[in-house]
């Protein structure tokens, strides 16, 4: 018997006893359906995190600051830490009142010379007093810029242009109503006034154009504040530093370095080590969100374990179904053996039947799972998860869906081996005598 005939015969045998087969398929379906949903949940959430990662920072960007002694500023057994004139008060990154050691132009040069660093850019920290649209109320905010490779998830308009000399910025969608605009689209093109105080205690007003409205996200660019372009950053930074001598001006809490986008995890780790050796600390976006992803993966793993348990229960159904089938077809098996069908082929016939049941159960389970999952996530996206735009709770990628089907088929095959082996071993004479 050739392979095609074997498959064809197995397929037609599968539906010899329809009710039994359908019930077994249903059991497999439940397992495959659950596995699809739980897997989709993992895919959806992780994909959302990945999207967020690209928003927070490009994959090839690392935030660098000067490494410090954890006990700096506190007396310890080795006595008080020595005063460091480069230590500056930093806000936004650490506890209020704590200091970081600033990066000087020398540090920037040192960083640029480290092997693997393609580009260094100091993070200019800007602290505006308030912002105001038209004659509306004044609000507190923070300001952040975009590094190459960073994206903004936009609700309206466009991201601020890096090349433009015009002052452009994005406001978060939560600001729209407070600033007095009807909706996100209405805000685009309007002017926003930013007040900033320089070192001589003089307040300056800078006008900029709102070119886009950013979606809220769990880790939005600019820490949920304004996203400004380079021209505006420079303007605000210069304004803020009026009255500070030039060499005092160039003190930065952080810098962004770029490395080869094709760098592997090992390369990144090596780069971090070189930075540490040089006295700096580098953190990638992946580091910041790594823990988060690990937790999601663990939860999905537990959910998947439940689905696998369901599948195992279903696989006993397959064993049972096929044992009954072997029992019913005892004489047929005997006849086929008498006619010269080998034990291996008989084994193949029954285990293929198990694989077909597994395939049907998993294909239907995965199909309906995808439909239901897509339905659920689109319903939730409009209701429960409306505050997390861009999140598709249950998403599917072709690879994991294929893997699910293959895994279920493999489980079904394993379940089928027991009855199939019994059929293969059957003695033709005994089988033909069987009443």
């Amino acid at each position: 018997m050739n392979v095609l005939d074997l498959i064809g015969t197995a397929a037609s045998n599968t539906f010899r006893s329809k009710t039994r087969t359908v019930l077994t398929i249903l059991a497999i379906f439940v397992g495959a359906f659950t596995l699809t949903i739980t897997n989709g949940l993992g895919t959806g959430i992780n994909r959302y995190i990945d999207d967020t990662v690209t928003a927070i920072g490009a994959e090839d960007v690392m935030t660098v600051s000067v490494s410090q002694d954890a006990n700096a500023g506190f007396a310890d057994s080795s006595g008080p830490a020595e005063y460091d004139p480069d230590a500056i008060a930093s806000d936004g990154f650490n506890r209020p009142g704590s200091t970081v050691v600033a990066l000087t132009p020398d540090d920037l040069e040192a960083l640029a010379s480290i092997d693997g660093v393609l580009d260094v850019e100091a993070t200019k920290s800007i602290s505006p007093d308030w912002i105001q649209a038209g004659d509306g109320p004044q609000y507190l905010t923070s300001v952040g810029g975009l590094v190459d490779g960073q994206t903004v998830q936009l609700a309206a308009g466009a991201a601020p242009s890096a090349d433009s000399d015009a002052f452009e910025l994005n406001v978060p969608i939560s600001y729209v109503e407070s600033l007095g605009f009807a909706d996100a689209d209405a805000a685009v093109g309007q002017t926003l006034t930013i007040a900033i105080t320089d070192a001589e205690r003089t307040q300056h007003l800078v006008d900029a154009t709102i070119v886009g409205v950013a979606e809220e996200s769990i880790a939005a660019t600019g820490a949920g504040g304004l996203v400004v372009n380079d021209a505006l950053t420079d303007e605000l930074y210069t304004t803020q530093n009026i009255g500070i001598s030039l060499d005092e001006q160039e003190r930065y809490a952080q810098a962004s370095i770029r490395f080869d986008a094709a760098a592997t995890d090992a390369d990144v780790t090596a780069l971090k080590e070189r930075l540490t050796d040089a006295g700096y600390t580098g953190t990638t976006v992946a580091d910041q969100l790594g823990t988060f992803k690990t937790i999601i993966d663990a939860i999905v793993l537990v959910l998947n374990a439940f689905a696998i348990i369901a599948l195992l229960a279903a696989s006993f159904g397959i064993v049972n179904t096929l044992f009954m089938s072997v029992q019913e077809r005892t004489r047929e098996i005997g006849l086929m053996k008498a006619m010269g069908m080998g034990g291996g082929k008989i084994f193949g016939l029954f285990s293929l039947e198990a694989v077909i049941i597994g395939f049907l159960g998993s294909a239907i389970g995965v199909g309906i799972g995808m439909l239901v999952g897509t339905g659920i996530s689109s319903v939730l996206a409009g209701a429960l998860l409306a505050d997390l735009p861009g999140l598709t709770l249950i998403a599917f990628d072709p690879l994991s869906v294929t893997v699910i089907i293959l895994v279920v088929m493999a489980i079904a095959f394993l379940a089928g081996t027991l009855p199939a082996a019994r059929a293969a071993k059957a003695d033709p004479v005994e089988s033909l005598r069987y009443e």
């Binding site: 018997m1 005939d5 004489r331 006619m339 010269g340 069908m341 004479v429």
Partner: protein, 232 residues
């Protein structure tokens, strides 16, 4: 002298061990020549079914040899054995052993499917065999819907389809009424006569046995009478 198609030499077959040991065959020796029609006759429990299973290579003898065309069948293993069964033998059983819910055609094609014959050729040959038995009009019927006589004719078509050298018939008319049974007998003997297919019939029906060239009587696992030897 030509080699007999089957040569049985001092065949013993026993089941079980120790005190439960049951000797179904206690030393049987005979030859069957190509083209013969042979009846193996005996009461139930005489060992005639065991003898047929041993002849059809479904069961190996405990001791003694069975030669198929001069080849000791104990040397045939695995694929060779399966091939020998598939190509050389056709089976007709009292209980038909048709698969109930598939078509007559599918049932008849089964031995060729096992042999790995191409589908188109399978169909053509199955139709030809059914035509020979005037069953071609029932080809697409489900086996379960046939009458007893039709079932047995389908079984004969299935036995014929691989052009076997030997047809084993185990009580071929046991489940049929006299007229239908006679009809089936006619078909079997016609095949024996016209195509030279060796026919080995296991039966306790004396009338059927009487139509065979030769009758081998079995009692308590021993050959008690062989008509050719008596004639010789």
């Amino acid at each position: 002298m030509t080699t007999p198609i089957i040569r049985v030499k001092d065949v013993h077959k026993s089941y079980g061990k120790g005190p439960n040991r049951f000797d179904a065959l206690k030393g049987v020796t005979f030859d069957i020549n190509e083209g013969e029609s042979v009846a193996i006759i005996g009461k139930s429990g005489s060992g005639k079914s065991t003898l047929m299973h041993v002849l059809a290579l479904l069961d190996a003898p405990t001791s003694g040899t069975v030669e198929l065309e001069g080849i000791d069948t104990s040397t045939l293993k695995g694929k060779k054995l399966n091939r020998a069964r598939n190509k050389t033998f056709g089976f007709v059983f009292q209980q038909f052993f048709l698969t109930a819910n598939i078509s007559v055609l599918e049932n008849v094609m089964l031995p060729m499917k096992i042999a790995g014959v191409r589908r188109s050729e399978r169909k053509a040959r199955a139709h030809a065999a059914l035509e020979q038995l005037e069953m071609d009009d029932k080809a697409s019927n489900k086996a379960v819907n046939l009458s007893g006589g039709q079932k047995q004719r389908s079984v004969i078509a299935r036995a014929l389809v691989n052009n076997p050298r030997i047809i084993f018939a185990d009580e071929p008319t046991g489940n049929l009424d006299t007229a239908t049974g006679g009809n089936v007998e006619d078909i079997l003997f016609a095949l024996n006569r016209d195509k030279g297919i060796t026919l080995i019939v296991v039966t306790h029906d004396d009338e059927l046995a009487a139509r065979c060239d030769r009758r081998i009587y079995i009692r308590d696992g021993l050959l008690v009478n062989d008509t050719t030897e008596v004639a010789a």
